[in-house]
Amino acid sequence: MSEATEARTPEERTPEASVPAPAEPGRGQNLLREIMGGSLVISVLAVLIALVVGAVLIAVTDPAVQQASGYFFARPSDTFQAIWNAVGGAYTSLFQGAIYNTGKTDFASGIQPLMNTLSAATPLIFGGLGIALAFRIGLFNIGGQGQILIAGAFAGWVAWSFPMPFPLGLIVAVLAGIVGGAVWAGIVGWLKARTGAHEVIVTIMLNYVAFELISFLLRTPGALQAPGTNNPKSPAIPAAAQLPGLFGVRYTVTWAFVLAVAAAFAYWWLMSRSSLGFRFRAVGENPSAARTAGIGVERMYVYGMAIAGGFVGLAGVNQVLAAAPGGFSSGFDAGLGFDAITVALLGRSRPAGVFAAGLLFGALKSGGYLMQAANDVPVDIVLIVQSIIVLFIAAPPLVRAIFRLPTPGTAPKARRRPAVKEAHGQ
């Protein structure tokens, strides 16, 4: 290492130079420092940049803008007006589709979009927590898709194969889904622990394996296929095993959202308070020091991936028992596995962060559909906005450069990620 650290030694030789010990900062001070340190500011600015990029895309592909720009030098105001209309209209729809529909007269109808946002956010929060947990152990879980598929299939199969009264049927089905996700992800942890196989590759591969497996089972009578049909589709979930609506049938939001809140708390307790979480974090920050301190690193990989898979599995449970209880086909993961990665990154792997990021991306998703319907802006713009947010959040110096912000006093040191290097080195 550099002499920079070594040369710090003189400080401790001369007592008067030693650092005065300030009072232990409370949690409020921590939050304040976090804000001043810029991480929240960076997050907000990253969202802003992404929305600007989205606006540019909306404007340049808008027919009215294209037409007006044809005679830009004759009457530039037309172009600006058209841009304003296109972008303003789209983002108004985004808001109305995500938070509150001002077009409706009664509150109960107006609040519908917010309810949609909550229900869209639910699987993102589950998935984000699972990916985040793996991150904290130094593992990169790209296997959300596979874990969701297997967990959903487990939950569904248990739900219709073992009919039980409510709420027992529901509880058993949810647990089955958690187990399904845990097993599928646990394989990855086990392979890493036993053979050193890198989890990035294994999780990606298992996504495809899970997809093919579920596709096969869905067209195989006696497996997941609905009896008496030839379609690759599962039977409907019995009502006793469905997650009921949280505010009645009028809104899409179900008890799964409450479960998501509970999951975020469980995650917080696990990582911040429990001894298992302590070991997880130790392994994530420095596996060799953890091993030297007697922590079974390999075992932590297996446990960690399994628990992460359990969280991700809840997203699959949500898809099968709440979002579409009429039966599922092979693509029911709906890309949530990859969305969850962005949620975990935006949330910086902290429970509150993941929860907030899940809400934000849920809002983008539910607003995106209205934007597509009302303004002819493809919903794919949500993917663009989402990924740009995450890219910029990962590169604070770039955001600071764009907005000419000062660099905080202590520049964060580039942290090596040996995990990724060893990665491919089997």
């Binding site: 196989a197 394996v209 096969f216 990665i341 890219l391 580039a414 491919h424």
Partner: protein, 431 residues
């Protein structure tokens, strides 16, 4: 120098030789035995009663070879027995010689494969052997481009998970530019340029801003998916008369070579982009291991600080090679459009970029081996296509799973140790 010579007495020339303990790896015998067992179960326990016909010529071929029809069960049972014997021999090899020779495993693979084809293709409809191989080559072309892009990037020390995004961007831009200009050459150039643009993002975030390379790669893939879907809806689909018209590169049979039975149609009757792939594999291999460029690329990927101390600009080298890798992968994207179906459809790369990444690792960061891995993956998916047409007892999903399972076995070390470039994925910060 005076004769009194301060000449240092010779250093002890013997390298440190520590006592060696033979560490035998039983992975190969175990793997072969598993396959042999599978052969016994499938070929003997589930023996097929009829005949299997192998067809070696297509109707258009100049030189025709006769079909080969064999009774299914005896042939596959015989091959199962051979497989069992070979598996047993592999145990002996490890016990007596320490390791199983590479050719032995290769012969085993051929035996198993022929037995499997014989078993699975039983029935009246002939197994079109030539088109099976031809399809394997065709399906592996984008994988080869993607894998070459991966090899270049990772040899320079940058993990390229964005291959998928580069393929997709290449596919989109080739369709857009070729159909709007009417020039397929322009389409190919645009595909490479699109790959470079995606690579710029990867390089900027990974090299300049030190963002974790896997994260950048994954996020870039999401971004490119969003952008191409958006562009498809708002641009390509909005003007179907001019944009995204069906355009495919013509086949250019190589005179002479193309007439050879089996090999000719499989290897020498393709469009220009396939020939570019052949050239690219050779060029990357030669370049990496025999030129100044390759020496420097490998140096910055293995030990960037050492490269820096001999005056090589580490991050510059990485930046330009990641860009070059993007161009190669982007060109592979053009195969999806100009090279095969002719038009762009949403998310048409369907995860092939990730398989290319798997081929890089399976091929141990070597362009030739990675190409062979890509061919293997192409073969597996075409086998599924072919057997799907002639009908077979194996569910198609399981054949489709094969490349992924093979890759998992590979990274789990069941097919031998591989070593990534030492600084792969590690950003270089001076000091």
């Amino acid at each position: 120098m005076t004769a009194a010579t301060e000449t240092p007495h010779l250093p002890d020339p013997s390298p440190i030789v520590l006592e060696k303990v033979e560490v035998r790896s039983w992975k190969v015998p175990i793997a072969l035995s598993v396959f042999a067992l599978g052969a016994v179960v499938l070929f003997i326990a589930f023996a097929r009663s009829g005949h299997t016909t192998f067809r070696f010529t297509q109707s258009v071929d100049a030189i025709k070879l006769p079909d080969l029809t064999v009774p299914s069960a005896p042939v596959s049972i015989a091959l199962a027995i051979v497989a069992v014997l070979m598996a047993a021999a592999s145990w002996w090899y490890v016990a007596a010689r320490g390791r199983v020779p590479g050719w032995f495993a290769a012969v085993f693979a051929v035996v198993f494969l022929v037995g499997f084809l014989d078993w699975a293709a039983e029935g009246d409809r002939p197994l079109p052997f030539t088109s099976l191989l031809l399809g394997a080559v065709t399906l592996s072309v984008p994988l080869v481009f993607g894998a070459l892009g991966g090899v270049i990037g990772e040899r320079a020390g940058v993990v390229n998970v964005a291959i998928e995004g580069q393929l997709l961007a290449g596919a989109f831009c080739s369709a857009l530019v070729a159909s709007s200009t009417g020039s397929m050459t322009a389409g190919l150039v645009a595909a490479a340029a699109a790959g470079v643009l995606v690579a710029f993002i990867l390089a900027a975030f990974a090299i300049k801003y030190l963002v974790d390379q896997v994260i950048v790669g994954v996020v870039i893939n999401v971004l490119v998916t969003g952008l191409t879907n958006f562009g498809y809806s708002k641009v390509l689909a909005a003007d179907p008369e001019h944009l995204n018209r069906r355009m495919t590169l013509p086949d250019l049979p190589i005179p002479g070579l193309a007439q050879i039975p089996v090999i000719g149609p499989v290897l020498f009757d393709h469009s220009i982009i396939v020939y570019i792939a052949y050239v690219a594999v050779a060029a990357v291999w030669y370049g990496l291991f025999h030129t100044r460029w390759g020496l420097r690329v490998r140096a910055v990927g293995e030990h960037p600080q050492a490269a820096d101390t001999v005056g090589i600009n580490v991050n510059g080298t990485r930046f330009w090679n990641v860009s070059l890798a993007g161009a190669v992968a982007g060109l592979g994207g053009a195969f999806f459009t100009l090279g095969s179906v002719g038009i762009f459809t949403k998310e048409m790369t369907a995860g092939q970029g990730y398989i290319a990444l798997a081929a890089v690792i399976f091929g141990r960061w070597d362009p030739i081996r990675a190409t062979l891995a890509a061919l293997l993956f192409g073969f597996a998916s075409n086998l599924q296509n072919t057997l799907g047409i002639i009908g077979s007892p194996v569910p198609s999903e399981f054949l489709l799973m094969l490349p992924y399972l093979v890759t998992i076995f590979a990274v789990a070390g069941l097919v031998g140790k591989s070593r990534a470039p030492a600084a792969d994925g590690v950003p270089y910060v001076k000091g």
